[in-house]
Subunit: 436 residues, 4 copies
Amino acid sequence: MTGTQIFEQYESEVRSYCRSFPTVFTRAKGARIWDEAGKEYLDFFAGAGALNYGHNPDNLKRALVDYLLDDQITHSLDMHTQAKAQLIETMQDVILKPRNMNYKTMFTGPTGTNAVESALKLARKVKQRQNVVYFTNGFHGMTLGSLSVTGNAMKRNGAGVSLSNTTAMPFCGYYDNEVDTIQVLERFLADSSSGLDHPAAFIVETVQAEGGVNAASLTWLKKLSDLAKAHDILLIIDDIQVGCGRTGSFFSFEGSGIEPDMICLSKSLSAYGTPMALVLIKPELDQWQPGEHNGTFRGHNLAFVTARQAMLDFWRDDHLSKSVRHKSQLAQQILQGFKTQLEGEEIVARVKGRGLILGLAFEDASLPGKIAAACYERGLIIETAGPQDEVLKLLPSLTITEAELMQGLRIIAEALTAVTGCTIATPEAQLQLASV
Amino acid sequence: MTGTQIFEQYESEVRSYCRSFPTVFTRAKGARIWDEAGKEYLDFFAGAGALNYGHNPDNLKRALVDYLLDDQITHSLDMHTQAKAQLIETMQDVILKPRNMNYKTMFTGPTGTNAVESALKLARKVKQRQNVVYFTNGFHGMTLGSLSVTGNAMKRNGAGVSLSNTTAMPFCGYYDNEVDTIQVLERFLADSSSGLDHPAAFIVETVQAEGGVNAASLTWLKKLSDLAKAHDILLIIDDIQVGCGRTGSFFSFEGSGIEPDMICLSKSLSAYGTPMALVLIKPELDQWQPGEHNGTFRGHNLAFVTARQAMLDFWRDDHLSKSVRHKSQLAQQILQGFKTQLEGEEIVARVKGRGLILGLAFEDASLPGKIAAACYERGLIIETAGPQDEVLKLLPSLTITEAELMQGLRIIAEALTAVTGCTIATPEAQLQLASV
Amino acid sequence: MTGTQIFEQYESEVRSYCRSFPTVFTRAKGARIWDEAGKEYLDFFAGAGALNYGHNPDNLKRALVDYLLDDQITHSLDMHTQAKAQLIETMQDVILKPRNMNYKTMFTGPTGTNAVESALKLARKVKQRQNVVYFTNGFHGMTLGSLSVTGNAMKRNGAGVSLSNTTAMPFCGYYDNEVDTIQVLERFLADSSSGLDHPAAFIVETVQAEGGVNAASLTWLKKLSDLAKAHDILLIIDDIQVGCGRTGSFFSFEGSGIEPDMICLSKSLSAYGTPMALVLIKPELDQWQPGEHNGTFRGHNLAFVTARQAMLDFWRDDHLSKSVRHKSQLAQQILQGFKTQLEGEEIVARVKGRGLILGLAFEDASLPGKIAAACYERGLIIETAGPQDEVLKLLPSLTITEAELMQGLRIIAEALTAVTGCTIATPEAQLQLASV
Amino acid sequence: MTGTQIFEQYESEVRSYCRSFPTVFTRAKGARIWDEAGKEYLDFFAGAGALNYGHNPDNLKRALVDYLLDDQITHSLDMHTQAKAQLIETMQDVILKPRNMNYKTMFTGPTGTNAVESALKLARKVKQRQNVVYFTNGFHGMTLGSLSVTGNAMKRNGAGVSLSNTTAMPFCGYYDNEVDTIQVLERFLADSSSGLDHPAAFIVETVQAEGGVNAASLTWLKKLSDLAKAHDILLIIDDIQVGCGRTGSFFSFEGSGIEPDMICLSKSLSAYGTPMALVLIKPELDQWQPGEHNGTFRGHNLAFVTARQAMLDFWRDDHLSKSVRHKSQLAQQILQGFKTQLEGEEIVARVKGRGLILGLAFEDASLPGKIAAACYERGLIIETAGPQDEVLKLLPSLTITEAELMQGLRIIAEALTAVTGCTIATPEAQLQLASV
């Protein structure tokens, strides 16, 4: 039986991405991935944000293999291990203290949804209220608690029960510039007869990835934080997808001036694609009873080892940050060029995003799927996002080289040309046009 | 700062087991674990059931390190990889087909709770009903959906919201022999005015581990399964803690004659203590839409590699099964001896469990905690279970040697003597007494 | 258009009893009712228990008409009126103080369901818990809160949403004598891992009318009350259908030795078939904020006038109580006779109930509907009850004469004969047989 | 014991209005009411809208007393009676057909909340969806279902459980003119990832009475209705408080061009202050099973008799409608005069409402309570409304004479003068000023 046949016969129909990329992958390194036929692909998807440092980075691999060969602790529940002590200390020293951030670390089960569920529980416990406000097009996970703060109707309906104790409010820019979404929310909060049960917390992504690469402005975030403070509401930042450097800084909200009450991290946290998650909690909110939340794999030490190594190797200086910002600017210029050319042919598009999560949104929602398929044929792994898959989402690893980035954009240009019929110039040509 | 200080200052108060075992562990192998002071411990806890094959088993380690060094795929979401194809195929060939079991595999997020949440979703979707019946003292996980089928009040209250769409019914033996718990449930199901909303599914552990090492009889399981069939209800077996060989067979329900509609596996599934989970689904129930459930780490290939290797090395013959049954019998005889001696001193105790999940339950619920602490001092890691921690729970790795098992039981005997004041004879002496 | 045509064309399909009694009624007095064709019916249904004192009793009518003619206050919300002051005082003097009962009166909206919803709210507020335990086959009303403590699946499904924060437990006799239902409940309460969220209250009918004329024994009620006290749970008696004298005493639980925390009254409370309801509350539990519950028609003074008059005329001595007990005994003897004769012909039946709520339950659930229809043809209004309508329910007014009671039973005997083919002797003959 | 002492000792603390009007009332006629001391009050509260035709109107009283004296049917559950047939027919002939309205009538329990619960159930059943959208500051009743579509936090919290399956959206004018509230709602509906579970229905009052006398514009209602149609959502108009002529037409939405799917009526429906409620249902939506909703007092024939008489006497011509509009215009002119004079003294106020539900809203929310108290001292019964009781609410009977209306307004002018210190001219003077 071939690999593909095995999947078709024995794997559940729930499988999804493999339908867009119907091959069997075998090997990967950095921004490149190979299938069993030996075909090479450039990866602009990066494990949906779990591979910010690329596939199998050598520095982390070395630390991991050494640890394994030495028979150090692999699995420890929440018992103390050396690897965990070193991770906590490094996180304080390299990440938190330099940013003047004072947080305690909660190791939840090793998935993003587990971090979100933990944060929701703690917020409700601390505030003794049930309701939590989330935002339109938000995505926070697939277990029942996280799903109840997720916007997507298909995913919500999958719950099979009605989702309660949460309220959706409009995200930044939800009505373009016609409605001030902070004002919409503020009135509900200030009016004791609005029907909005006073929430324990707001939970929000600073850039909604699944929701369509919607970046909240730093001003909006600050206003939201002020609103939370004014109404005694906790602010939970879900930085699972866009934290760990995705927007150019370790935390996505740096520069906004906010101090979240809790921060959820996962995906690229382990830095090697292995499962790990945690919640950073302001010390005064750490009101857990021992064991009130738990999980078998919350002590995944292999992930602790690579997570720590990544902090040491990538976050002790601003080299990576600068590189992300530079590549972001480059890609945005080129995407703007694409957009301009497309609009010349009456195809309405928009460039979205921040750092290295960028999107090209199309008015015609049928296009991105076709473009992604055309990219795949040309050796580029890229996905769509948004409620109607109306956004072509660029999510390369942060460590991608400029040349690889240009190569990927070149494939996109070719795919755009093939799908839309417009002649889209190469990235290099776009840069020249922009610099004129 | 010492390791312990780091945890006290920076880790959330939610940490729990480390309070029973207050040292920093560094290295582990098989049934043994060492701390930073070099002290050796025998491990009768085995990662709460996640380390059935012991710590860092060499056969699996080799496969894992080779895979890493070769830069094969680490993280793949639900894209096809060679490692995954091989795992699925091996599972069919080694585990399922020899048992005449026809199931499709759903890769959920890599934690047990994610598998449970997936099974609940699917059951509700297939049956178009909301309610799910679970059982007293059941434990199925800590995210909102799983928590709603978990009995423990402290953990339920942690949700901060009321848990709905589920109903608890009495587990096998809940009223000792005074009430037929199947009859209690059957009447509720048969009566359309009972107030029990007709459930989509039953979810049950065959041996409740957290709940106090309560083993359902195989007869009870069969009756439950018959009841499910008669009333068009799905049967979900949560084999997360007691599957993967814990009771002596790969699945815990082998021999009962039941064919569950879904089976949740995790914990020892990866065989190396790394996060992995899946749900086995009868093909006709696989009614998922693509992507209706998902999770970033559902393609944790490192775990696939070791999971497969364990199937190849431990489950192609009945060597391990026989060894588990032998060691179980041995341990039970010795525990019965302890019980008899304790009762001679008017300390009421009871031996519980099946396979290598065994318990010594005490009428005086304050004893097991003290006994576990006395074991720890003597170099044995062991935990308690049950609603009032009234059970001393023996959960060694399945690959523990007979000598190690005897050593652990000897420490327990010493601890019993120290805590209760009764003179408890050695395991060897107990066996002799039993054979008289 | 005839009356019947009007209903068929313009009234909602939700109408129900009119389908069993398809005529248009015009006039009624005592235990008799006439239709537009002038046909006379004997009434063994009594407004589903709302007409304990018969139709349009003259003493109450006089008080009501005088009040109306005098232009006294009809509608007052919860403002003070003379009629309300007099009712409250009379209730204290005639009903409560003679029974050594110390309760405050809450005027809810004028329907039973409103009283139940109020009691549930207050119990949850006082105990700061969400869950409420109700009992299999219980019926407490059709608004969302009351429905969530009602057993019937068809009615529950009508909610269109899942009903939460309540748990059904087995009622007295639910497993005949095979299972001690108090024991079933007690274990759930005593075990903190049972999955039963600790309830704020029990809500229970002493005789389940809709549920099939199931009478709880006074011993069971006392045990339930003791259980409530032992576990800090409030006991709410829903005496809406079987209070106001139905079982022979004003409250149905008299003689059991219990002191409910709250008592819901409605149906026959106004004594004239007009809407009225209230909750009696132990003074220390009256922790309402002003206006925390309300309702436009909670000040229905016309009902207050007749309610008070009924207390004065029927409850200052034990004349009515004795008469109810006498007629109950008589009817039970005759029903036992019917049962004996039916069983001679292999039709299994059972006599159920207490006071003047009596039932003849059939193993063959198709019979009671046919018998009730045969009664209707013969001029007797009678209904069925129970989850499968397996009970023929006798619910005559309490003021029915002995002759009328015998007449009704005679019609039942004829209907039994006609439907079952067994020759059932007359009531008079049954009494003679019994006295032999 | 005096009446007041009886209430203080024996009535629940939940009583509310009696605290504003602390006397014992004995007699009432038209717009006037007397207490036990013989003091006369003018009534601008009209039973919170339940006494649109005044207290004890002679024409209805006559019909009611005749019916009683004739021993016609008082209580009938949902069996057919002559009184009910006549009511249904008259409603079709006098109210519905002349307005080209095709609806079936569902008799619910006799309270507004019962009508609302019924409408919610049916909407969810027909659409097979759980969610219902309601509006900020809406009030629909106090049982659990109705409460879940009510905005007021104090009342919501009284539930003691979290309220689910409903979503609040901003009512007309919620952001003054700054935000288009229809646009806010439309975006949520159109976006499948908004987090708004697609609703079965909208439920809305055209003028929010309790919520602060907020009148939706007819344009807004039409847009809302169009939105409902476009998204396959049912529109339920809760006309309990402002139907039955309160705004000048029988239904409050006449003139807007909408055709609601369901209409809830109660309060003044019986026309005599006696309990009665119904839901008008478009025939194709009448998908109830028999008995799927019920209630003991849904056949309150005494109310049917007066309800029918009121239709015959008040709604066969447009006399009452014209009179309401005239008196509304008069009162609004005078209130505008008050407002103008208050603002001259820097007290910010606003005139709100439609027909004979009018409000004077104050920026300083402490004023209306004081003004209402000052009115009461001067012999006028008047209440406040709004989330902070910031509105003085004028709700006289529709049949009030012009002279009585002017008298009441004169008392308000005096109370305004007394409370604010501004000299407010008489109503007559205001009219002169306005006509200049």
